[in-house]
Symmetry: C2
Subunit: 332 residues, 2 copies
């Protein structure tokens, strides 16, 4: 009643296990008629190779680890959820499997020490640098997703360029007092977006005013808090939010102050989160290509697994301005 092995197939087919292995794997030659017979018997018995035995001799697991910081996790940002499912689908296409793990500290997850994965996707920019370094030293193929550090392969979003575009859009619409808010600046992506905002002001000969930058706190409340504190000390005509949840929650704060969107304050978000179409008014935002990021990261990782000695590649994906109603469309 237990799972059929090569041996069982060999016995039935009256050949050796070596031949069966060759027939099924396609490596090495085997007579066409016996190959057919073996394939048929394997099918009949519902044979599937035992992963443990195979990975013992082959020294690979056909598993890829998906590591994410416990803080960041999958909620409330659906952001990484989308990446996770896209990664899994893409891996599956290549007959690979996904080990999911969150890391809470700097310790190497057991996944790695115990040889459970052939490579790793390190997702998000909250993973400790020491961990990344430790993995690199182990010689395990690693690709950073939505993050980048020198010396390690990465696939990430052009945050700076995106925020530049978003800010430039507001400037184009005539805004001169533009604010920037984030849940936290404790995060590389958000700092890069701040930098893009700054560069856009500079490129248009506008001053950077620190009073127009506000930070809230990590989590769903962040945008509300940031916007509220900002409104107490300044009165911008537009605001760039570090991401869409922040923007959505900032919109509530704006409204709570008795101001209208976009008439009094225009808002632009970042990420093109599913929620962006459902804010009141719908949110103009920078689209981030999450599944594209996933597909490219998987492709790169599988390539590194096959062929480890390669110079690091850094793949930056541009964003796209999606115009909705939160800035007052230039078309109306």
């Amino acid at each position: 009643m237990s799972r059929p092995t090569l041996k069982a197939i060999a016995k039935r087919a009256g050949v050796s296990v070596a031949t069966v292995s060759r027939a099924l794997s396609g490596r090495g030659r085997v007579d066409e008629t016996t190959r057919q017979r073996i394939l048929r018997i394997a099918e009949e018995l519902g044979y599937a190779p035992d992963m443990a035995a195979r990975s013992l001799v082959l020294r690979r697991t056909e598993n890829v680890g998906f590591l994410i910081h416990a803080l960041q996790s999958l909620s409330p940002h659906t952001f990484y959820g989308e990446i996770l499912t896209a990664v899994e689908r893409e891996l599956r296409r290549h007959r690979y499997h996904l080990q999911f793990a969150t890391v809470e500290d700097e310790a190497l997850p057991a996944l790695i020490k115990e040889n459970r994965v052939d490579g790793l996707l390190l997702v998000g920019c909250d993973l400790p640098a020491s961990l990344i370094q430790g993995l690199k030293e182990r010689g395990l193929p690693v690709v950073l997703v939505d993050n980048h550090v020198p010396g390690v392969d990465s696939v990430f979003t052009d945050n700076t360029g995106g925020a530049f575009q978003a800010t430039a859009h507001l400037i184009r619409l005539g805004h001169r007092r533009i604010a920037f808010i984030a849940e936290t600046l404790d995060n590389l992506s958000f700092r890069e977006r701040l930098e893009g905002y700054r560069q856009a002001l500079e490129a248009h000969g506008m001053p950077f005013d620190p009073a127009l930058v506000a930070e809230g706190e990590r989590g769903f409340e962040g945008g509300f808090l940031a916007m509220s504190t900002l409104l107490q000390r300044a009165r911008p005509t537009a605001v760039v939010a570090a991401n869409d949840p922040t923007a959505a929650s900032a919109m509530r704060a704006i409204r709570a102050h008795g101001l209208r969107i976009p008439e009094d304050i225009a808002v632009v978000g970042f990420d093109d989160d599913p929620l962006a179409v459902h804010t009141e008014p719908p949110l103009t935002t920078m689209r981030v290509f999450r599944s594209k990021m996933a597909v490219l990261a998987v492709a790169r990782l599988l390539d590194l697994i096959k062929n480890p000695e390669q110079p690091a590649l850094h793949i930056r994906i541009e964003t796209q301005l999606i115009i909705r109603q939160s800035c007052g469309s230039p078309l109306t």
Copy 2:
């Protein structure tokens, strides 16, 4: 430079691999001083057991599969994201690992055929019954999470009871024309919630009016659509939404019709999603204990892995009414 093996440790310690294995695993006796010596050497060499070799001989992987339907996935419902991270944390506490996979059709995932997992968590009620049946027949330990069918262990939410409570709350507040909306009724949980609503009406001697039930479509737009169509044919004073995203999006539809919440229409959601505190007004909802569900499911599954021959257990977790402002608090 490759990973140290038992053999390497044995050589250094001047003992056999059998002794090293015993010393490290703690099974079988070994002299205390040599055990210390072996432990020290293993530590020095940074030894970690090779998972493939171990799982080959032990016939277990210390892996648990987390299966979810591709449709349902992790987004836009952060719901399953929270369960996923909670499950992973709990598994890690027990030195188990998580294989994440989405299923698109009825085929047995390779995970299972190739012996990559010791057991499975089947999450959500969108997985095809034929798949569940197929797994059961393979004799693999399985626990359903947020779903239940006869004959298979399960941990799930008391949807019927929760919707009963939610509806009863509205009745207590004096409402007599209470509607029910869902993205779709193509989903067991949502049908159970409808059933709870129905039972509550019945228990209070109120008629069930099909005109007060509306379905939208799967996805973020669902609630808006359902509420809009409902408002075209009826004018309830309160509405029970099948989940919080539906409720949030229904609130936009209500406002779009020029009606106020809760003065014209009271709204109650379900799930206590993170977004519930951020709607305008904050949403009264039924709290669902996601991480509790995760912890119980993991515990049950690990128990089944250790001891497979047990009658199926069905663990139902009650919900809790969280009163915010979307129904008009009874306290004000």
